[in-house]
Point group: C2
Chain length 326, copies 2
């Protein structure tokens, strides 16, 4: 059994991306129990909420309390989304370790979403970085470039626009710029091309892949990103959140299935799949009846499964035998 650090970092976004997509509000105590369970499964970066006006997203009204709780968990990077400087101030006051700021590569999406152009958002990011340096120098700032692979408003988004935006964000002082397939339009060839170009443009500041499963391509796109060197992947327990246009089509990549893919490939995630699956109970407890996605939790671990670090599952999930032709 290896004691080396995990080969990929799974950044769990469900407490933010998932919960803000659900109309109901998960009670604070349930959020805390769920985050504890996710952390207990070995996740080491969790996006626990967003700092937005409570009248706009009442599901996030308790975000400061959630951050304070999560920041007491050992070896956990506590992330929060902030759309603007005001959100960043509140997030820093609450004690986050890392901020993520969504900046859309599509002007149409940016205006519809935050009523600012991408250029105005770069200015906002610059102000956020300055605030962090002044108040909390250790806090990291990530920009998540949304609609990087296409936009439901403008259609295709030129790759040059994405790269120019990434370079502008780097000049504005972010630690990392990642790429988000906000509307589930990415394909593996495009993912490889764009992340290669991102790496060429901003080097080690190239950040996470935030990929969606809207058309079923989520894991294939994650594989494509891994192939070209991406090592941080956003994913959501039960696939909640994202843009679930279709019944059965989760928006976000499902953490459980993503962890299975990497571990089965021999790529260490540091996550215990059985504990992660058990953490679904805490999610269900906080949001009874909410539809969860993910095939591995239903099918169980393959017979003979071994974790990338050599660990064996505590109790092997056996599958029914097959008596079929082919």
């Amino acid at each position: 059994m290896s004691t080396a650090p995990p080969s990929v970092l799974i950044s769990e976004v469900a407490p933010r991306d998932g919960l803000q997509s659900v109309a109901r509000t998960m009670p604070t105590a349930a959020k805390l129990a769920w985050i504890d369970a996710l952390h207990g499964a070995g996740l080491r970066e969790i996006e626990v909420g967003s700092f937005v006006p409570a009248r706009r997203l009442p599901q996030m009204a308790d975000v400061a309390e959630v951050v304070r709780h999560a920041s007491r968990l050992p070896e956990l990077t506590v992330m929060a989304l902030v759309p603007n400087l005001r959100g960043a101030e509140a997030a820093l006051a609450a004690g986050v370790h890392k901020l993520t700021v969504p900046v859309s590569a599509s002007a149409a999406h940016s205006l519809a979403n935050v009523r600012k152009t991408p250029e105005q958002m770069v200015d906002e990011v610059r102000a956020i970085v300055a605030l962090c340096k002044e108040r909390s120098p250790g806090v990291m700032v990530e920009a998540g470039i949304s609609t990087a692979f296409g936009c439901t408003l403008q259609g295709p988004v030129p790759e040059d626009d994405v790269l120019r935006l990434a370079e502008a964000l780097l000049r504005a002082g972010v630690d990392e710029a990642g790429l988000s397939d906000t509307t589930g339009m990415a394909n593996p060839a495009q993912v490889r091309r764009l992340f290669l170009r991102l790496r060429a443009a901003i080097g080690e500041h190239a950040g996470a892949a935030h990929l969606h499963n809207t058309r079923g391509l989520g894991l294939a796109n994650c594989l494509a990103a891994y192939d070209v060197g991406v090592r941080t992947f956003d994913a959501s327990q039960g696939g909640i959140g994202g843009c679930p246009y279709a019944p059965g089509a989760s928006g976000n990549v499902v953490t459980e299935d993503l962890v299975l893919m990497f571990e089965a490939m021999g790529v260490d995630t540091g996550v215990d799949l059985e504990r992660l699956t058990a953490a679904r109970a805490a999610l269900v407890q906080g949001l009874p009846g909410e539809a969860l996605y993910g095939m591995t939790p239903e099918a169980g671990l393959p017979k003979g499964f071994t974790y990338a670090d050599g660990r064996l599952p505590a109790r092997e999930a056996l599958l029914p035998t097959t008596e079929r032709l082919a």
Copy 2:
């Protein structure tokens, strides 16, 4: 618009693999209408049924009639599964163009499934090849090596066993040997490794990838196979068939999502996604109420989607606009 042949061949297996997994029997007229619709969508290889005793699989009792109908469709390779020499005799009499014989790499699975060892199945394949040469020299014989990536009975299947079996099948005279992830246990690293070894062992006789989506890795595994040179992919409309252990977990890779992935990547499939989606109506007509899978049919084509050969969709499926953060 290119007139070059498609870059990959999608082999549609739903009329065999799907219908034999469903307890109900689709009426013959509905089968014929559905196969016509699949052909009309541009599919050029369809596995239309299996030649097995009607008492064992009553769903396939009309397979000879289905083959006769399908063999009149232009530019279509009509495939059927045969488990033994007797099935091959009936298939050749009906006029199939290509036979596929499942041969399990796992002795436990082989014995449970067809009451023969893999070695005995190689002998059966040798007899089938001899019969074809005698009666219908133009008919191709494919062996589908099942449980190639793992077995629910024996667990991991040694890669050397799979390669030895492929070589024995080639000596027995098959035109192609493909690999099947019968129980949904494959991962992308394994898919790449095993198809590379298969190609090294039997060269251009390396056949189709038959991959399942049991744990959500179906498309990622197809991408992995494509990366190492596989150009024929089995898939099933609506994901019916395969080994659907879990609700929401289709067994087979969904043809609609696979076609979207390749076309979006610029890899020509020759398939029209809108007509393919429309063909689902014929499937539903024949099996009312049957659960269908696939995310692309629900989400629609991405805004600005273009086929690999440059065609534009007849009517673009627009998506709802998004007003969300990230």
